[in-house]
Amino acid sequence: MNLVSRIFRFYADGFRSMTLGKTLWVIIGVKLFIMFAILKWLFFPDFLGKFGGEEAKSEYISSELIHRAINP
């Protein structure tokens, strides 16, 4: 058996024979799903993503940083 298939078997056997670990993996899966598919997607968009390029982002940030201290 080559190294890759031995490693594969090692992981496969390990996962198959888990007891409590299966519950923990379900919790990890649910948690990651909530984080990435719900929280990130619905509530945590990339705020600066809407500005497109780097120049537009730096222009927006400079405007924010300047005008929060100096009223236009």
């Binding site: 056997d13 409590l20 919790i27 990890i28 945590f44 300047i66 929060r68």
Partner: protein, 520 residues
């Protein structure tokens, strides 16, 4: 309104980040502490060949796994928050802050993910020594991850090794070593990791004491307590040393935080260190001349000694830091808050002028404004401060969190000494009073751990980056109600996950170390 920003948006953004960070920090210290303890136990198994050490290591490894599984990736939410709620901050320092976080991600993925699998699946499949190496590499990987996170946090407390580029409006890294090996980062790493070891030791002693109370698994519990008490005592003594180093670093880099930690309003030479104290809530002005304490017991000269390594040294209080005028170590006179605020406004105006000149392609004006900006950049963040008193962090919370942390640190030293002595004399198994103390010490270890972070993070307010950017300028221009909504979503989600962890953990503890299935 503060600088065109709704103050409730600042408060909710901070509250949300604090909630996420504090929740994440429930899991991390146990991972770091318990990880080392289980590795020591497995080392004893490999060294002595005694099967009972294998069972002992496997049981604690099971609890480690539960904690790891529930806690893993909770830190990701903070990274989401950086991108959404703290976009100004993220852009402003992304080049510096991103590097340690990226390294952390790579290290965490490759080291922890690889070796943790061998640690759990590899019993009887790989050699004893290879398994032991995997166990140690798992915890070394987790500890290295903590290093990079703490490097990022330390940079916020002591920004070093960077230069501000007004073209990109970003701080750019000039010296990686100055960021990764700054004295603040080194000290924070050791202090944080060692205090996590204390939490791990208290956890093992507390759970083992519960078995002793129930008169079950006595040999297992005594073995575990012997290892944890010695380990915890060593970690506690080292934590005293790093705590002293932390106080020194705070005194040098964040004197306002130190003043808040001690409730010190009026600076003095031969400054005393408050051992126990109650603040007077009637003191509402930093310069009203009222005694800040209702009651306190202090150690003479100790604060001067801790802060400056010299009992004669002057330690500035809150009033001195606001009013300025005292002599600094380099012989110059300290600026007042008003003077720093003025220089901050000059720096921000220079940035505005530079950006305007850049649009006009006016190279001469750009060079002039760049020079003004560079000369005043050290005070950039002060340009956002509306009132000098905005520079004072919440004194009560910082003061009490600091003193609770220190008092509990002292209590844990006594706890470790007492449990070890009782165990060595063969009296621990019957000392029910001690079992209760050990069991109820578990929540105290978490309180101490969280208190340490409250001191670090509340004590540095109003700054997101010390002197460079306050929280009010760091946050995204969002609707406060949307941040408020996500705060409560997290609160519910975190509570559910915490209940899940506690119920799985308690079930595993009740089941005990008997009949362990190694692949659990």
């Amino acid at each position: 309104m503060l600088g065109n920003i709704d103050t409730s948006l600042i408060d909710w953004s901070r509250a949300q980040f604090a909630l996420t960070a504090m929740y994440h920090w429930l899991f991390v210290p146990l991972t770091l502490g318990l990880g080392v303890i289980q590795a020591i136990m497995e080392t004893l198994y490999v060294k002595t060949g005694k099967e009972h050490w294998k069972t002992t290591a496997q049981f604690w490894m099971k609890l480690f796994g539960i904690n790891f599984a529930i806690g893993v990736a909770t830190g990701l939410i903070m990274e989401f928050e950086f991108g959404t709620n703290w976009s100004n901050y993220s852009w402003f320092v992304g080049d510096i802050f991103g590097a340690p976080l990226a390294i952390e991600g790579i290290v965490a993925f490759f080291m922890e993910a690889t070796f943790i699998a061998i640690m759990y699946f590899g019993w009887d499949k790989v050699s004893k020594r290879f398994h032991l190496a995997s166990t140690w590499l798992t915890i070394i990987g987790a500890t290295m991850s903590a290093w990079w996170i703490l490097v990022a946090n330390s940079w916020m407390q002591y920004p070093a090794g960077m230069a501000f580029n007004p073209d990109s409006v970003r701080n750019e890294m000039l010296d990686f070593a100055a960021v990764a090996l700054s004295p603040v980062a080194v000290n924070k790493f050791f202090h944080t990791v060692l205090s996590s070891w204390i939490l791990g030791a208290v956890f093992v002693i507390g759970v083992s004491s519960w078995y002793l109370l129930k008169k079950r698994n006595t040999d297992f519990s005594r073995r575990s307590i012997r290892v944890a008490a010695l380990f915890g005592l060593t970690a506690s003594i080292l934590t005293l040393w790093t705590g002293d180093g932390s106080a020194y670093q705070v005194a040098q880099r964040q004197p306002m935080k130190l003043a808040a930690m001690e409730g010190l309003y009026d600076g003095t030479t031969h400054a005393e260190l408050v051992a126990i104290g109650v603040l007077d809530p009637a003191k509402t002005q930093y310069n009203d001349g009222k005694d800040p304490y209702l009651f306190h017991i202090a150690i003479p000269d100790m604060l001067s000694l801790l802060a400056e390594r010299n009992a004669d040294a002057f330690v500035p209080g809150i009033r001195d830091l606001i009013d300025g005028g005292y002599r600094l170590k380099d012989g110059s006179t300290a600026l007042s808050a008003e003077e720093k605020m003025e220089r901050g406004r000059v720096a921000i105006q220079a940035l505005a002028n530079y950006r305007a000149a850049m649009k006009e392609n006016d190279a001469e004006e750009m060079a002039l404004q760049r020079s003004i900006l560079d000369d005043n950049f050290a005070y950039f963040g002060y340009g956002y401060i509306q009132e000098p008193t905005d520079l004072i962090p919440p004194v009560g919370l910082t003061f009490y969190a600091f003193h609770i942390m220190v008092a509990l640190g002292g209590f844990f030293i006594l706890l470790f000494i007492l449990t070890f002595m009782l165990e060595k004399r063969g009296k621990l198994a019957d000392a029910r009073w001690m079992h209760y103390i050990c069991l109820f010490s578990i929540p105290l270890a978490y309180i101490a751990s969280q208190a340490g972070w409250i001191v670090a993070e509340v004590g540095r307010q109003p700054w997101a980056i010390q002197d460079i950017l306050p929280t009010s300028a760091s946050i995204s221009r969002l609707d406060a109600s949307s941040v408020q909504l996500t705060f409560f979503i997290f609160l519910v989600l975190f509570t559910v996950l915490l209940i899940a962890e506690l119920s799985i953990m308690l079930k595993a503890i009740r089941r005990g170390p008997d009949n362990l299935i190694t692949n659990d």
